[in-house]
């Protein structure tokens, strides 16, 4: 599974390069994503701009990544299309994942979060 990773300040942006995450690749997606999240020592933006389809098994990979975060870790999404957002709403996962329009907005929000006193 191909991801494009860029570091922006204290935030790691992981862009999903595969347009379709369905059952045939969901296992690979989950494994690769959990590895990327587990080794990250900073907040993560998962950029889904190029994603056109994801099914419930792909969603399971996103949930696994969220669960793989360190205790104080942070993972947010950006670039979620209207169609894919509708799937998050169907499954109530829109209440779990914080979402932003663009990677820049997500990075700005996470940077702002980190600068606030605990």
């Amino acid at each position: 599974m191909r991801f494009e990773e860029t570091v922006s300040g204290d935030v790691l942006v992981v862009k999903v390069m595969q347009p379709r995450i369905a059952a045939d690749v969901a296992g690979d997606f989950k494994k690769s994503l959990v590895e990327a999240v587990s080794r990250a020592d900073r907040a993560i933006v998962l950029d889904l701009t190029g994603l056109t389809f994801i099914d419930s098994m792909g969603l399971g990979g996103l949930i696994a990544a969220l669960k793989a975060l360190k205790e104080d870790g942070n993972l947010v999404l950006c670039g979620v299309s209207h169609s894919i957002l509708s799937m998050f709403k169907l499954t109530r996962m829109d209440k779990i994942f914080r979402m932003f329009g663009t990677a820049e907005e997500a990075v700005a929000a996470l940077t702002h979060d980190a600068s606030r006193p605990a």
């Binding site: 369905a22 389809f53 098994m57 969220l66 509708s86 169907l90």
Partner: protein, 152 residues
């Protein structure tokens, strides 16, 4: 009117080719982007369920998929000769499952799977499932937009 009727081998990757045909069919029937996505999603969940649960990932099996417009509805039928869906799962499929409120702070308790039937239930307007003579048949209907406007 376009119709899809084909048999596919039960490989997960083959689900994608049927999904592409369904996407085109939805577009030709005037479904908007979100409805078309959700119909494709529901059909994929149903086909993957056949492979994983009815056939338990056993290679060399086939399922029949048919789809087309019928009485103002897009109707999708999926037939297999695997293990029938248990009665409680059929109930979940037809009646839905109450989804508990989820707390984003309790991420360790989130389920990573088990949402397919709920998605099918929530997306499709009509669902029937029958198992007879070794054949399982799932039939799902979705109102085409023009027909839906008339019903409202």
């Amino acid at each position: 009117m376009r119709r899809i009727h084909c048999a596919i081998g039960c490989e997960l990757a083959e689900v994608n080719s049927i999904a592409a045909m369904l996407r085109d069919l939805c577009a030709s029937l005037g479904f908007d982007e979100i409805d078309a996505y959700q119909v494709e999603l529901a059909a994929c969940e149903a086909m993957v369920n056949v492979i994983r649960h009815a056939y338990r990932n056993e290679p060399g099996k086939t399922m029949m998929v048919g789809a087309g417009a019928e009485d103002g509805r897009l109707v999708i039928e999926i037939e297999d000769r695997g293990v029938p869906m248990p009665a409680e799962r059929v109930r979940d499929l037809k009646e839905g499952v109450e989804i508990a409120e989820v707390d984003s702070r309790e991420r360790s308790s989130l389920r990573e799977s088990g949402r397919g039937l709920q998605i099918i239930h929530d997306v499709m307007d009509e669902i029937s499932y029958e198992s007879e003579g070794g054949m399982n048949r799932l039939r799902m209907g979705k109102l085409i937009a023009a027909a839906r406007r008339e019903e409202q």
